[in-house]
Symmetry: C2
Subunit: 323 residues, 2 copies
């Protein structure tokens, strides 16, 4: 103890004798930064390099429009038990880019500047990740809801990924670009039809439709996951022995809809089919302990699914500083 005190005091004395440093600003209060870190996260699937991207978030009220068949107090309890914000709830948006070695493939496009002020962060996050929109070779679209397609075209009408081939699900073309279906849709469903027209209507470089069960890009297979929309497509990304299941919106936030897969989401067009699809995909993820991503999970929105009781448990990946 005497030695320790001596050591410390000797250090302090020596420091007092040393020339003082005067660095400008060192004595001023440091300003608050008020901004979040860039929302991108990298991981590998075999030889593919994946960059998960956050496109921001919106607040949502927990109500019967969003949760048509779940007791709302149970929804709130489940969320609170997982320390999720509930007043309001927060719904995030997350896309990803797959570098297959030959192509840069973006899955879903976010909002660009067509959404709420707390959305459209993808452009900044891509830039932070060192990827330019002009480098994107292919965009795969899971379905035609606005938060997935709006980002293909800016509010000013410009193509955001001018060099990309855009590949979309046949089933959603048939639904969302059909004027008779738009006319028949309830008022609340109208905006999605309008956005599909805004995005896909004008001169569009390279629209291509694709079917379930086919490879949409090298190593990326589109698989059936209808219910949320008629053409909703999930993706299996495979390289070497590794596989990533890109669920999209076949399940919204897995902390809610994997835990309680029978709960309906207001945005699911065919709710019974959505439940069937959700369970099929979650079973697939759990059986193979497959890495999985969800569009509306908390960023980086990638992790793992395990069976648990009558539902499934979601475990986000452990952040790794080594990729």
């Amino acid at each position: 103890m005497s030695i320790s005190r001596r050591t410390v005091l000797a250090g302090a004395a020596a420091a007092a004798a040393a020339p003082a440093l005067h660095i400008s600003g060192a004595e001023a209060a440091a300003p608050m930064k008020g901004a979040q870190a860039p929302g991108f996260y990298r991981f590998k699937i075999g030889d593919f390099e994946i960059t998960a991207l956050n496109d921001g978030q919106v607040n949502r009220e927990i109500n019967a429009t969003l949760f048509p068949n779940a007791p709302l107090d149970e929804v709130t309890r489940l969320m609170e038990a997982q320390f999720m914000p509930t007043k309001p709830a927060v719904s995030p948006f997350n896309t990803l880019i797959v570098n297959t070695g030959s192509k840069l493939v973006l899955i879903d496009s976010g909002f660009n500047n067509n959404g709420a002020p707390t959305t459209g962060l993808m452009a900044a996050n891509m830039a932070a990740a060192g990827i330019q929109p002009t480098e994107i070779d292919t965009v795969l679209i899971s379905h035609f809801h606005p938060d997935h397609i709006n980002g293909l075209r800016s509010k000013e009408g410009n193509l955001v990924y001018p060099n990309a081939e855009i590949i979309v699900p046949t089933g959603d073309v048939a639904h969302y670009l059909d004027d008779a279906r738009m006319a028949a849709a309830p008022e609340g469903a109208r905006p999605a039809f309008m956005v599909a027209r805004r995005v896909f209507g004008p001169n569009f470089k390279d629209i291509k439709q694709a079917e379930w069960g086919k490879e949409w890009a090298n190593g990326i297979t589109g698989i059936r996951s209808d219910g949320h929309t008629p053409g909703h497509t999930s993706f299996v990304v495979s390289s070497g022995t590794k596989t990533l299941l890109v669920v999209g919106d076949a399940s919204n936030d897995p902390r809610i809809f994997a835990r309680m897969p029978d709960w309906h989401l207001g945005f699911d067009l065919d709710r019974a089919q959505a439940v069937t699809t959700r369970k099929r995909l979650l079973d697939m993820a759990a059986a193979d302990r497959m890495q999985t991503t969800f569009y509306h999970a908390a960023f980086p929105a990638t992790g793992f699914i395990a069976k648990s009781g009558t539902g499934y448990e979601w475990t986000p990946v452990s952040f790794s500083s080594v990729i």
Copy 2:
């Protein structure tokens, strides 16, 4: 359907007529980036702005040195059930900076350039977060283990935070700077004593010792959490009605040691006391649903603790793009 097809085909035709864009590199394969996103994450506790920082990670073998009283197959099973890497296991290092409005307070210092090549990322992550080492006003040290103090002084001998007041726990000064204790320590415990001398020995600007139960900096109280080391100190950061509990090493990765709080960690010096301390802190976090950070949790290493069976359950925070 005819309308949809017509719309899409019309778009493609118009695009074909439009002048082609030739952007250099657009047809080349995009290079893999091979690097992770900056490891910082921002959140508020009342009026305080917190920046969590990652200092990298090391691989560890699951063995009886690390887990002296736990059946190793149970350790592995528990980790696998949570999709944690086990071959090898990964141990991350995370510090944080509290901006109290008047002071920039760093809690623990990481490795700087004194550790394994996969550590010492804090400097780059601080820079990415827009914070300069010269701006740090105060460094609080939880305990004298190398991964917490090495970063105060670079391998070349320079002070990394030249304008900071350094505040350390009295109990660890008494232990780690006492030559008799160093002489009595087993060979494996020697490096910690040597590092304490390397860091604190030479002329050190402003060493200050502090006690448990006192405010170490404005709004930040050091609280007793011995066992891991004799002077180990956790911190309660309070602003307005909000509180953050900075556990430090009173529990290593909460996915293991909150779940199984009776398991010993090889690095805990007084293992029985470490268990008592761990349960007291976890009880405190759970009772008040207090936001909590752990030095060795997966980045951003902040979340919440709830009682669950004979142990506790860890829930990481939901990433928020809005702070």
